[in-house]
Symmetry: C2
Subunit: 249 residues, 2 copies
DNA sequence: GTTTGACATATTGCATCAAATCTCCGCGAT
DNA sequence: ATCGCGGAGATTTGATGCAATATGTCAAAC
């Protein structure tokens, strides 16, 4: 758990709930808690070494980020993934990130340019993932910071918050593809070209590159998981098959 | 507002928490719980006739909608309002609602047109607010439904969710202006013209009208509350106890 | 006038109880 | 004989009360 919080960056968070929120979010994003997984508080309590009360509040807070669903009388569950959700996520992210990028390019000053350059530099200094499929936590953290910095000069907190939410959501899918293995992709070049167009204040080209960047990620995810139409495409190690719809009450 | 659930549309919500969430959201939107108000669970417990645990979870869920803030070791608080937030909200809503409206106009079918027409009809059948400043809950509910229906044909759940969040946020400001009184505004004509352009599939005109519609609301809010620069612009003058009249169950 | 200490209040977390759901097993019907 | 239906046990969730820690305030002392 490196630094997943791209929102408020306060130093003091002495409450158990806040720390558990970060740990569970990390586990969801990394796939340790697979999509669709039921979050039984009694089973999670020993895993995170906390009581049920902070766990309940942690799940509730994660629901605010769209990572957990709340079903009355049925507890919490990791939000399932689906092909339709991925496509919606991709299109919405293209639209909103484009808006935010235009705003950032219109208002960004010299110091912002420096931050973008620095973020790109740190990102290029690391390798995206090992060839064996294990992803590098440091690169993942830098990648998130890079995209956040790129849009950071946009002076719309609401839009940035939405973009951050969409980014986290997309992470769940992207890491599936990355961990799945081969991805012939020059992602360094994509990031570099994006920064080049951004610093040149070429809004049209930068937005086009960003749209392409997002689209390519989705293509790789779909290529890695062609059967991404059901709700539980991977993992779901539980052998219990629930019966078909025979629920009436 | 009697229809708070614009997300998952399940019928059964027998938990105390879910009902309290709706009641508190209603009170926040209506201004009964003013912006910046500290939410002391011990004081709210008798007011809503529930314990502190469901109240805690309710506040946590409202934080997911951006209506409540969580401060570690300092409890919950109604999100304050500010001029900057209103301006950001307005601009972001113009951008996102426009995107959603274009999507809805591109994909909406005949039945959607019927729903929009019906929603407009129901809205026109009611009066926005009494001349004395008291706002009509039925009109408010229909108004929310109208805007939701207008964008409803857009096939992007994420975008619609964001638009719904922004709408609720704007409601807190708009109702301030409405309850403040005087607003020489032909809002019926605005809605009617918006529907006319939408059904004519004139995307440019419809989006322009929608942008204007949102902008005018903000202008009225700013006109009604010129000193909207500090965090607690109105009310907040009753630190004692506000009347506990909303008790129904 | 500033600082420090103590009191009162509020928030956090845990243990326990009640209610609802899920699972599994048995029975009957086709 | 297999499939559908119903009920009892077990598990899980929802909610209350209580204990512990942290915060904010007020007053007294320097």
């Amino acid at each position: 758990m490196a630094a997943p919080s791209r929102i408020a960056g306060l130093a003091s968070e002495p409450t158990l709930t806040s720390t558990v929120v970060d740990r569970i979010r990390n586990d969801i994003l990394r796939g340790v808690l697979p999509p669709g997984e039921k979050l039984r508080l009694e089973h999670l309590a020993p895993r995170y070494a906390v009581g049920r009360t902070p766990l309940r509040e942690a799940c509730c807070r994660l629901a605010s980020e769209g990572l957990v669903t709340i079903e009355d009388q049925r507890g919490f569950r990791v939000v399932p993934i689906s092909r339709a959700d991925l496509l919606d996520l991709t299109r919405t992210r293209q639209q909103l990130d484009t808006l935010a990028l235009r705003g950032a390019m219109a208002r960004g000053d010299i110091s912002w340019e420096g931050e973008v350059t620095a973020a790109l530099h740190r990102l290029l200094r690391r390798t995206p993932a090992s060839s064996d499929g294990t992803l590098d936590d440091d690169w993942e953290a830098e990648h998130g910071r890079f995209h956040a910095t790129l849009l950071g000069a946009c002076d719309s907190p609401w839009l940035l918050k939405f973009c951050a939410t969409l980014f986290d959501q997309s992470e769940r899918y992207r890491r599936l593809a990355v961990s799945h293995g081969r991805h012939a992709r020059d992602i360094e070049e994509e990031h570099t070209a994006l920064v080049r167009a951004t610093l040149a204040r070429d809004a049209e080209r930068a937005c086009a590159l960003l749209v392409e960047h997002i689209a390519r990620t989705t293509e790789l995810v779909l290529a890695a998981h062609p059967g991404l139409s059901v709700n539980e495409p991977v993992s779901e190690s539980l052998p219990t098959k629930q019966r078909s719809a025979s629920r009436k009450a």
